[in-house]
Symmetry: C4
Subunit: 231 residues, 4 copies
């Protein structure tokens, strides 16, 4: 079981690189085994080219390494906080992908400007506040998790699987590590197209709510009819 | 005959991916056999990497599946409406390609800013209105076809083979599935260059009509002299 | 000799595709044998994937086909005019490359905003006027050559190997077909960076003339010291 | 030893091409052997495709060629000045990479808009002044080195490993040729994202200093905990 999860998480990390969402060793993917209370995460600063399933690091829900010969991603405490707060999340991704980071740096949420967005994100993709100096000092990565959770208050992590950390970059999640990677790619495309639409029309409004709702429901609602999986 | 059309439609779908016009399983291509009254279309939500000709779905002109082991694209009712309204169309493509979608999201038509545009599209590429809540409820995909047809009133689908659905993305067509894919690629390039020209000069005008007309005619008019096919 | 030139021109056409400067069958490269008075040019509308040296078309200085089994590029009369007016030019390229075309569509010359530009183009890259309806009627492609020549009055085609045709796209040249292709790539990069600099600072001025001059001379002047060829 | 350094410098030059930071023969990487007082640098104007370790040129700290069959990069005197002024630098890179050059052409420093920047550059990436006509005449490349050093006054080359030469392009350095290339790639991504954030919000401020400091220290400070190398 941990062997399978290690392979899944390694494959998801490679997919992140293949989708062009990472530069050098930036970015990390994790997955969780809820029954065992174990998180598998990418090691810190290791090249995607040489990363094997065996290099993945296993930590417990306090972020302590319980298996693996490498140091885990420095962002591990952020992942741990999110897994504890969002019980339905099975995989988490952090990248500095170009367009999502452009919005994070500008501290602007991504409004729902089209059906591509509505297909996957229910409402505008939110932005956190900045951490205070005290919070940075208290534990930078853990507190990053906490301001994400603070910002997600009132939002459902299942229908809003992404957040932009102000002045930093996105954290994205999903039911599995692979789905979290797909959501990261979708967020990147949505951000790129939103930037372009703002260039054409700086005050472009969100699409009508009845269209937002329709698109989200046809892919994710109880009567979803997109794809082959739903009957 | 359906075997050949299935292969043509599958190949056209693969070309869409090769041209970089789709992300994940987004986008779909169909083709029609007018004599038999059969439409062949991509299955819903299937990876381009693994899609075979045999996975293509055959529907009749009411959109009912008559052959195939998978569910057809969720956008099938839109394709059906367009085939019924545009008798000379042999293939239809829907993508969320980046630059065309940027214009669709901004609800801005693409004016003819250069000869690249004039070579392939006669006049500005139009944008539909938004569907009302009632229309969405009545049948989202079919009504999407209807507002495209409404917007194309007075335009010739042969010389204007593309439309932008407001807040959504382009639908593009052609004499065959392959030509519709080529037109999708051209639309994407034209949209990218229009966005750039607007950035340089926000009030850039359309090129003179005598140049628009000349370029369109030298590629598509009765005395066309571009390429090897026309004598 | 014509065999070698055909191979050179075919290779230069393939390089154009490899550099990402063309979409579908757009763009064309030609080369001239000044002694024989023969121009070798790409056939019209043929895929770069399947184009062989034998597909190249040979025309004389009146643009009449003297060898080849295909129709020459529809832009052949433009090439012919330029070869007749610019005696030191050995190769000509026409593309609709994205960024150069963005400037052509906005009818904006590309000022010398940096040393990348100064290394290769002496002064701003010029833009033609639009053809009149009478000129279009009289012979569109030949008159396109003539307005390029008109715009180049007072400029040296050796130190300004590119022009933007208003509302259309660039024509670029060089001592050979291969050099013309390299100049097309350089123009594209220069245009892309100029667009970006204008986005950062809309009134960005040209770099000081003493730096423009220095860069051009160190690559192209009589005492050039860039590269391995000059002693 | 020089053999190893030649291989390192050649590999670093190839990496520059693989990262998409160079066009044609633009750009150059050098490395230094401080004990022997020898600099190994790319030859001028040679294609990356055919460049071997044996083609690298060895110069002394006066820029005189002491080994090699080709002419060294025309920018060699700039490299020499920087190695003499910055004793901890082991490798230097010059490129005209697109986004860094866009900032250099606009004579705008790159402020720290996000943690990607803060992870690698301590403070805004600086821009030099323009060289005067007298300086250009006195020795263009050597004087380019001198204005970089002038601009770096009060800055630590170890924590600010990049500078933008006004109207020109970046020079970047590191502890080795390979690290200098990685820093060039990071600079390019940081510049691209800064341009995008400025498009979204023209007056976007730098991120709070306590976050800048935290990110720089966790990667580069005495208690760094990113990656596998630091214990």
């Amino acid at each position: 079981m941990p062997g399978q999860l290690k392979r899944d998480v390694q494959q998801a990390n490679l997919l992140l690189a293949r989708y062009g969402l990472v530069t050098l060793t930036w970015g990390n993917v994790s997955g969780i085994d809820r029954l065992k209370g174990r998180i598998v995460i990418k090691p810190s600063g290791v090249d995607y080219d040489v990363m094997t399933a065996d290099d993945m690091v296993v930590v417990d829900l306090d972020g302590r390494v319980v298996d693996g010969h490498l140091r885990p991603s420095s962002d591990t405490p952020t992942h741990v906080e999110l897994y504890k707060a969002f019980p339905n999340v099975g995989g988490i991704v952090h990248t500095h992908s170009t367009y999502a980071t452009i919005f994070a740096q500008a501290c602007r949420e991504i409004p729902c400007l089209g059906t591509t967005h509505a297909d996957h994100f229910s409402g505008p993709v939110p932005v956190t506040r900045f951490l205070t100096a005290e919070e940075v000092h208290a534990g930078y990565e853990r507190e990053t998790g906490k301001i994400i959770i603070e910002r997600m208050a009132g939002l459902d992590p299942s229908s809003m699987p992404a957040v932009l950390v102000a002045g930093h970059a996105p954290f994205v999640w999903g039911k599995s590590a692979a789905e979290a990677v797909r959501n990261s790619l979708i967020l990147e495309r949505v951000a790129e197209m939103a930037l372009g639409s703002f260039q054409l029309k700086p005050d472009v409004p969100a699409i009508p709510s009845h269209i937002q709702e329709k698109h989200y429901q046809r892919k994710h609602g109880p009567k979803a009819y997109y794809g082959q999986d739903k009957a």
